[in-house]
């Protein structure tokens, strides 16, 4: 293995331009994929932020007694997917309206009766903000006799989930297409690098080198090219991320696991492409 590593490193030294170009191609191919991941990740965050607003509001009758309300809160909290149930009293509802709507603040001082009903606001766990889950909880809330009305913006929610589904399918198709293109480009870049050293492979076979001894340096060289390309892709994507944050709008950086997966992809694809390319030349001589 030490010889293979020495050979791989000397391969870099002997043809720095070729391997540099090869790593650049791999890097650019992975950059396209990484930029797509950056966009997809931030879109996902945006959709999740909107999803956080998914909630069921159960408006209570005037006659609702505190003990009944407490029991309902406990029961609703125990339902699957429910993150929290919060009781909003009539006074809190009025105060909130005053803060959010200035026109109400103007005339509310003259009000003799508080027109806002008390309510229960039911929020959901991240994985449970689905139409089925929300409808189930809304139905459970409306079963209480002291609940007058239940609202959860059904139409809005259905649109949101449709949007999320479209986004997921688009991401999958586009991501798959980008990954396929990246694989092809990486494969071609590595094949060119191996092609340039076909004379070495020929001589190795000619003088009686074992196949595994021929394969290993190329395998490592492919992996190193992939790694360099992966690092380049991360640097370029990081630069883009910084520029967008500085000059356009705020976005989040992709999770470290995604960057790690990108690097690993470069290494694995590089090594695989190199091995496959060498195998072609091993059939000769």
């Amino acid at each position: 293995m030490a010889r293979a590593l020495r050979e791989a490193v000397s391969g870099f030294r002997r043809a720095p331009l070729l391997i540099g170009l090869s790593a650049l191609m791999v890097g650019l191919a992975l950059t396209v994929l990484a930029l797509f991941a950056l966009v997809a990740y931030n879109l996902r965050l945006a959709v999740e932020e909107v999803e956080e607003r998914v909630e069921v509001v159960a408006y209570l009758r005037e006659s609702a007694r505190p003990v009944e309300i407490e029991a309902a809160v406990q029961l609703l909290r125990s339902l699957p997917g429910v993150e929290d149930v919060r009781f909003v009293s009539k006074a809190q509802a009025l105060e909130r309206a005053r803060q959010e709507l200035p026109e109400i603040a103007e005339f509310s001082a003259d009000l003799e009766v508080n027109p806002f009903p008390a309510s229960l606001e039911i929020r959901f766990l991240p994985g449970s903000r689905t139409t089925e889950s929300v409808e189930g909880v809304a139905a459970a809330a409306s079963d209480f006799s002291f609940v007058e009305d239940v609202r959860y913006g059904r139409e809005w929610m259905e649109r949101l989930f449709l949007l999320r589904r479209i986004a997921a399918i688009t991401a999958m198709i586009l991501g798959g297409a980008f990954a396929a293109v990246a694989t092809l480009i990486i494969g071609t870049a590595i094949r060119i690098a191996v092609f340039a050293r076909r004379d070495e492979i020929f001589i190795m076979r000619l003088v009686g080198a074992r196949d595994r001894l021929i394969r290993r340096p190329f395998f490592l060289e492919g992996a190193m090219t992939g790694l360099l390309g992966g690092i380049l892709a991360i640097l370029l994507t990081w630069g883009t991320y910084q520029a967008v944050n500085r000059f356009l709008f705020h976005i989040e950086w992709i999770p470290p696991a995604w960057s790690g997966a990108g690097l690993l992809m470069g290494v694995v694809f590089g090594a695989m492409a190199s091995s496959l390319a060498v195998r072609r030349y091993l059939r000769g001589v």
Binding site: R3, E7, R14, D199, E200, F202, I203, M204, R205, L206, V207, G208, A209, R210, D211, L213, I214, G284, V285
Partner: protein, 227 residues
């Protein structure tokens, strides 16, 4: 040591290259393999090197059979058979020493022995003074000597040479032939493909085999050949 038993080689596109070749080359023999272009000389050498397998029949090299030796063990045959080409096949941009050392590196030579052995091999072919020269700066004859040194790296039992003097002038040709004889004198068999009949006349001690359209039509050692 080398046996071709009823060997035929047929290529799908160009047809029959060799037909029913029976041949035996003992250790230490010097053989000229001659014939016109396309007569099957190079094919014969490639079959002995096991770069190719016969379509029918069997090639035996030091006990390794073309029928029974799996692809993963072909390297064992290659280390017993040195190969020299007309067009040298050297690694451009590397020195003579590096070219020879490369063959040693990839054939399990201990690291510390590579350089001195490469130097010794270059001395053997009379090129120690040019060890540090990039091969593209060497003359044709010198480049061919580097390929011979490389072919000797694994201490083979036989040296195959496919028109090794085809690109060389008369003087360089003589030099290479003399070198082959010296190597042969040390006990290594040499099989050299050539269509240069002048060479055959000058080195009359060698066995001469002639191929014509894939058939062995003359063997100077066969009874009644007059050779």
């Amino acid at each position: 040591m080398i046996k071709l038993i009823n060997v035929s080689k047929v290529y799908p596109r160009t047809g029959t290259a060799l037909e029913s070749i029976q041949l035996q080359v003992p250790k230490g023999q010097f053989v000229f393999l001659t014939g016109h272009s396309g007569s099957g000389k190079s094919t014969t050498l490639r079959l002995i090197h096991m770069s190719e397998r016969p379509s029918s029949g069997e090639v035996l090299v030091d006990g390794f059979s073309s029928r029974r030796t799996p692809g993963r063990d072909i390297w064992k045959v290659r280390r017993r058979v040195g190969f020299v080409f007309q067009d040298f096949r050297l690694l451009p941009g590397r020195t003579a020493l590096e070219n020879v050392a490369f063959a040693l590196e990839v054939t399990d030579t201990p690291r510390g022995e590579i350089r001195p052995r490469a130097q010794r091999l270059l001395s053997k072919v009379g090129l120690s003074a040019k060890a540090g020269s990039p091969v593209h700066q060497l003359s044709g004859g010198e480049q061919q000597r580097v390929t011979i040194a490389r072919a000797l790296a694994s201490e083979p039992l036989v040296l195959l040479a496919d028109e090794p003097t085809g690109n060389l002038d008369d003087r360089a040709t003589r030099g290479i032939l003399d070198l082959f004889w010296e190597i042969n004198a040390l006990g290594m068999a040499v099989i050299m493909a050539t269509h240069d009949l002048e060479l055959l006349r000058s080195y009359s001690a060698a066995r001469v085999l002639e191929l014509d359209q894939g058939r062995l039509v003359f063997d100077s050692q066969a009874p009644g050949s007059g050779g």
